[in-house]
């Protein structure tokens, strides 16, 4: 059969690399063909999600940040300073987390979706026009965020002016000063040329962009066991591939940026400098518990337990 798989990024960005590996694995181990639809070809993020729910698409890659509109608990990934910065801990968390292996699959299943994999895309970095070291430096700085209440809350707690803006206007908005900054993983800052219109990259260490691959559940359950295993194995293989691919991806992206724009600065905040930012996390957690749906508390608690396990 031909299986259709849509994702939110371009073919050469992290989700695209993951998708290509998945396609390669499936096609190598079965008679099925996987057709890939990168960002924009079948609509916005929530459009492709609905198409996966209605069975037009067999697979969809959507970040929990967007899934939050459907599964409020998924917004937990926007709580700052929750995910560890250490890469090994992070990977161990994504491999073993009970939140990901037990709770989220149930929540996704209620929406007719089979959660196949959650994986990290890279450390989120803030790019701005003026250097940032303290929350005071963010005062009156208009930081573009996705339209998501938790993200708005995070940046408000950091002291900035969160400004939701359509992605298409971000480059122009930075160029002209409608906004003063935005956040994204390094590879995305590089591929979308965000460094051209900002001067400073700050690593607050507050988050790692998380995303997820899922299948239409009816489709998945209608497959024989062999096919299901092919899919699971392909999702796992793509996970390993993406983790390996990400080793050094951030560094390469930052190097490319520095080559293109030598006077760009990249500042990694020290633990002390991070402390005042980290203190605001409690407020955002409280907001998450308010708007994160019926199982918010359970998700947050389990997630913290998983993270502790990953750290030990």
């Amino acid at each position: 059969d031909t299986w259709r798989y849509a994702f939110e990024e371009a073919l050469d960005e992290v989700q695209g690399v993951y998708a290509q590996k998945f396609k390669e694995e499936v096609e190598a181990n079965s008679d099925h063909e996987v057709q890939l639809f990168p960002f924009g070809t079948l609509g916005e993020s929530d459009n492709i999600m609905e198409q996966a729910q209605s069975g037009i698409l067999q697979f969809v890659n959507q970040s929990p940040g967007f899934t939050g509109a459907l599964i409020p608990e998924a917004q937990v990934f926007f709580v700052p300073y929750l995910l560890p910065e250490d890469q090994d801990q992070l990977v161990s968390f994504f491999r073993n987390s009970e939140t990901i292996t037990d709770i989220f699959p149930e929540l996704y299943a209620q929406q007719g979706l089979e959660l196949l994999k959650m994986y990290p895309e890279g450390e989120v970095m803030l790019t701005t026009k003026a250097p940032v070291e303290t929350p005071e430096d963010l005062s009156n700085v208009k930081v573009r965020v996705m339209t998501n209440p938790l993200l708005v809350e995070s940046y408000r707690a950091f002291g900035a002016t969160p400004t939701p803006l359509a992605w298409g206007e971000v480059y122009g908005g930075l160029q002209t000063g409608i906004i003063d900054g935005q956040e994204n993983p390094a590879f995305f800052i590089e591929s979308t040329r965000m460094y051209e219109v900002t001067d400073h990259i700050t690593r607050l260490g507050h988050n790692n962009f998380t995303t997820a691959l899922m299948a239409n559940q009816e489709f998945f359950e209608g497959l024989d066991e062999a096919d299901q295993q092919v899919i699971q194995a392909a999702a796992d293989a793509a996970f390993d591939h993406i983790i390996e691919y990400q080793q050094g991806l951030t560094e390469t992206a930052l190097e490319t940026i520095m080559e293109a724009k030598p006077d760009m600065t990249v500042t990694t905040l020290t633990e002390e400098q991070r402390a005042p930012f980290r203190e605001t996390a409690a407020d955002v957690e409280a907001t998450f518990l308010e708007i994160g749906g019926p199982r918010a508390q359970e998700v947050l608690d389990q997630m913290k337990a998983d993270l502790e396990a990953a750290a030990s």
Binding site: G40, T41, L42, G43, S54, E169, Q175, T176, E196
Partner: protein, 428 residues
Amino acid sequence: MTAAILGTMIVLLLLGFPMMVPLIIGSMVGFVGLFGGLGQLETLVQQVVAGIQPSSLIAVPMFIFAAEIMTRGQSAERLINLVMAFLGHIKGGLAISTAGACTMFGAVSGSTQATVVAVGGPLRPRLLKAGYSDRFTLALIINASDIAFLIPPSIGMIIYGVVSGTSISELFLAGIGPGLLILLLFSIYSYIYAVRHNVPTEPAATWPERFRAMRRAIWPLGFPAIIIGGIYGGIFSPTEAAAACVLYAMLLEMVIFREVTPRQLYATAKSTGLITAVVFILVGAGAAFSYVISFAQIPQEILGGIGIDAMGPYGVLFTISIAFFIGCMFVDPIVVILILVPIFAPVVQATGLDPVLVGTIVTLQVAIGSATPPFGCDIFTAIAVFRRPYWEVIRGTPPFIIILLSVSVALIFFPQIALFLRDLAISG
């Protein structure tokens, strides 16, 4: 399959169906073909709705609203009079003023058809009285309106920007160069026409009259300041600039000129909503159709067939130009942008062409096509507004179309005509 769908759509269009019908039927047939039945038509509806939701599209009703308020009030007329006071007396001056007035009004209006009405309405009798032939006058009006489509704001550029994911602010800047170049070339042609046909020169306005015209036009000149200054001065996004224009137009016409009453404002809002709806249902239906196109991977099929991969950037730009020009000779420009932009998107990306340059060329081409027989929409606007027969409206157009097409060729070989302002803004 593709050919059958496209054929059906063109036939329905020519038979006089509302334009949304061929688009919806085309998408429906596509959905049924792709998914083997009616089961997935919900996704068609989803795509129609998704097609009208990008927040940048809000700028379209806002710019229409601002221009409608101004046309109803005094601003449009004051801008026209300003141009006339300075250019009216030179050889071919009235015709040059018409092109100039289209440029001025273009800084408010985002559409060619609104410009045909707002500028063509008051100026056509004056041109006729001055001794310009009707066919020259009509051709001048429908073609000079293209300048308004290139000078920001431009509805074509907004929709191109939304469909292709290109920055609308950058597109706006890139339209100014070609817009002014067309103004220059039309002025030269008007001058030559006036000399050859010995059109008498108008009396010159006196300096006091000119000052008066300037003083009267000061307020309306705030619009370009809001759009250009506001967007590039870091105050507004294009959408917000559009809303600021609405606020400014209301301030001018309701408070300062006291020309528009609240009741008229309501009527204007209603008519803006109506225009928005008839355009946006096409945008939505077009989005559903372009979904079918990308789902069925049709661009690869068509473009592979003509061997576009081997063409190189010039070949691609020429192919794009020709496709959009021909498309707009038959169909509404917005529909053409909606259908063709996704088809060409992969090849534009693969060739590494600047999407802002492509957007400028596309905008120019659809503007030209909209005044080109047989079915350019500006022709029908002119027929409708000026109540002149079809043949009379199109007879004078060839010289103008040749000028416009040469600007378009110039853009392909000298992209800096469009891009220098944008590059200036980025480096500055």
